[in-house]
């Protein structure tokens, strides 16, 4: 009688579960979250020791936890927003975090991203029995879904939904505002020597698309290509944007001067060369919206 046996097993598991849930405090009832790697992650009801393995993840988690944000016990290097996170224990750079520090913090929830964290390290944490929720933050369209997944894992579904919808609405608003505007041809420079620019699949490319500008390297094969200067001169962008999230004035000065040598560039003729010092356009979080509005102000506001 196999069916009877199965029933018996199910029944005994049920009884066990009931007994367990009576024994343990209601605080620790297990929940199951399925992350983007299709992994079923078992979480306690209210995770109290959270570690975020990328700055954007720390930012979203802190926003969602609100006044409970001290539950974040470890963050990756350069997690500086909201400012309160600067004081949280650092677990090292997100490309290669310190395994021992993470394990020693005894987390009950770790957030990782497919965009930057090492798959090997995530696997290692899981092998050690640490619940890791992996989110995807590779494209602009991933932001809302990553907010929802982080919110669900933190048991903050309602706040997450609100945040995600607000973000999507904000994005739509910018997109609509960009209609009927001139379509400038833009280059976004991330580094000078070697020249690295934003290309296809990068966040900045998505942002330019939303505000209605055209990235002259939108067809690159890699996210951050290294074009030759000759090619830039031949493509002749209308606007040059320099990303300088460190805010180093001397660097900005030098880069602007160097571009100034090429007087035939449209951007130089029309004095359309700008420096962006915030990192909002580089982080897959709701703050991306304010980065976008800065970008569209640069592009369309009359001086």
């Amino acid at each position: 009688m196999p069916s009877f046996k199965i029933k018996n097993v199910v029944l005994s598991k049920f009884v066990l579960l009931i007994i367990l849930s009576v024994i343990v405090s209601p605080d620790t009832i297990a929940r199951e979250v399925i992350d983007v790697t299709q992994e079923k992650v078992n979480l306690i009801d209210e995770p109290k020791r959270v570690i975020t393995l990328a700055p954007s993840l720390g930012e979203i988690a802190a926003e969602l936890l609100g006044k409970n944000f001290e539950r974040i016990v470890g963050v990756s290097e350069y997690t500086d927003y909201p400012p309160g996170l600067k004081k949280v224990k650092s677990i090292g750079p997100f490309m290669h975090f310190n395994l021992e520090t993470v394990v020693a913090l005894k987390p009950d929830l770790v957030f990782a991203t497919t965009d930057g964290n090492s798959k090997e390290q995530v696997t290692h944490l899981r092998e050690l029995g640490i619940p890791v929720v992996v989110v995807k933050t590779e494209n602009l369209s991933d932001i809302a879904s990553s907010i929802r997944l982080i919110a669900k894992s933190l048991n903050r579904g309602v706040q997450g939904e609100r945040m995600a919808v607000a973000f999507q609405n904000g994005l739509e608003k910018v997109r609509n505002g960009a209609k009927n505007k001139p379509r400038y041809r833009v280059i976004v420079q991330l580094s000078e020597q070697p020249l690295v620019v934003a290309g296809k699949g990068s966040f900045i490319q998505d942002g330019l698309e939303v505000v209605g500008a055209e990235n002259i390297y939108r067809d690159s094969t890699i996210h951050y290509p290294r074009p030759s200067l000759e090619d830039v001169l031949a493509k002749n962008p209308d606007v040059i944007i320099i990303m300088n999230s460190g805010g180093d004035q001397q660097y900005s000065q030098r880069v602007i001067e160097n571009w100034g040598l090429h007087k035939n560039l449209n951007a130089i003729k029309n004095h359309r060369i700008y420096v962006i010092t915030s990192d909002e356009l580089l982080r897959p979080t709701p703050r991306f919206l304010s980065g976008l509005s800065k970008l569209s102000r640069i592009l369309y506001e009359k001086k």
Partner: protein
């Protein structure tokens, strides 16, 4: 060398390794570690460092003798480039096998390069120089292909997938490390079995031939064994420089050039040096881990130079 003194050297070497091993269990990124942390993180890691250090030093010693070239190290033969190529291609097509700490596709790439080298060793029956140059060429080709791939294709995660290749012991798992342990011991043993022939090779191939050594056969055997050894070490911990180059020289100064003693002592000192260097790399810049290859060089080079300059004429 007197038998008495050799035993002393063995005893000191063994004690040194045990001491460093205990130190590695004691020190880490966090100050007061509980037992489970030591068991789960530090023990596999200290074991991995010891095994990889031993493997690299033995491979270095064997290759230096085989090619009669003091500049040979485990990476001279280009097998590590095969590992890098395997790792990057594996990541690109989404095949990131992580078999208890071993990078699956990296191991396959390394084995492929090793097989190439081995099959070439059948053709170049006359001199080892051809083989050595082939290895160096293989290395260049492999590295260039990796660089080309990174410039033209960028798949998510390639950067982080390749970071470990520059030496990373944090991937250690207990079961994978035990597997590596069996491999390193077996391969070290089968290299050590040829100690007489290795002694002969050190005098040059022609003299070795005159001594009645079947140079071609020995060359094939050593190439086969060392390349599997190197493949294992690289796919477990990436490329860690210096150990395989300097430990054999150091041990030759210490205990002479006879491979009967050289091989086991190299294993011990390689284990000691890498475990100690890893200890330093984990603790000096918390929570960062410094590249362990940098530490092996910074710790090893001065010690080696002191011995080189200080004990003139003992060899």
């Amino acid at each position: 060398m007197k038998k008495n003194k050799l035993w002393q050297i063995y005893a000191v070497s063994l004690l040194g390794w045990i001491g460093v091993f205990c130190l590695a269990l004691r020190l880490g990124a966090v100050a007061n570690a509980d037992f489970s942390l030591i068991q789960e993180i530090r023990l596999p890691r200290a074991l991995l460092a010891s095994l990889v250090g031993a493997g690299l030093a033995v491979a270095g010693a064997a290759l230096q003798a085989l090619f009669c070239n003091p500049l040979c190290d485990p990476y001279t033969l280009g097998i590590s480039s095969g590992a890098a190529l395997g790792a990057i291609l594996g990541t690109s097509i989404g095949l990131q096998w992580i078999l208890s700490g071993f990078a699956g596709t990296a191991f396959l790439g390394a084995l492929l390069f090793a097989a190439l080298l081995y099959s070439i060793s059948f053709r170049s029956s006359r001199t080892s120089l051809v083989l050595l140059l082939t290895g160096v060429m293989l290395g260049f080709v492999g590295n260039s292909l990796v660089a080309l791939w990174m410039a033209l294709v960028d798949t998510q995660g390639i950067q982080s997938a390749l970071l470990w290749l520059f030496g990373d012991l944090s991937r250690a798992r207990l079961n994978g490390t035990l597997f590596l342990g069996v491999g390193v011991l077996l391969l070290t043993f089968s290299i050590w079995r040829n100690w007489r022939e290795l002694d002969g090779m050190l005098m040059g191939e022609e003299k070795a031939l005159a001594l009645g050594i079947d140079v071609v056969k020995i060359r094939r055997g050593i190439i086969g064994n060392t390349s599997i050894l190197i493949s294992l070490c690289v796919s477990a911990a990436g490329m860690i420089g210096f150990v395989g180059l300097i430990v054999p020289h150091f041990v030759r100064r210490l205990a002479g050039s006879l491979h009967f003693h050289l091989i086991p002592l190299c294993a011990l000192w390689g284990a000691t040096l890498l475990t100690f260097a890893d200890c330093v790399s984990r603790t000096v810049a918390r929570p960062y881990e410094l590249p362990v290859g940098v530490i092996t060089a910074l710790v090893g080079a001065p010690v080696f130079l002191l011995i080189l300059l200080g004990r003139r004429g003992s060899l």
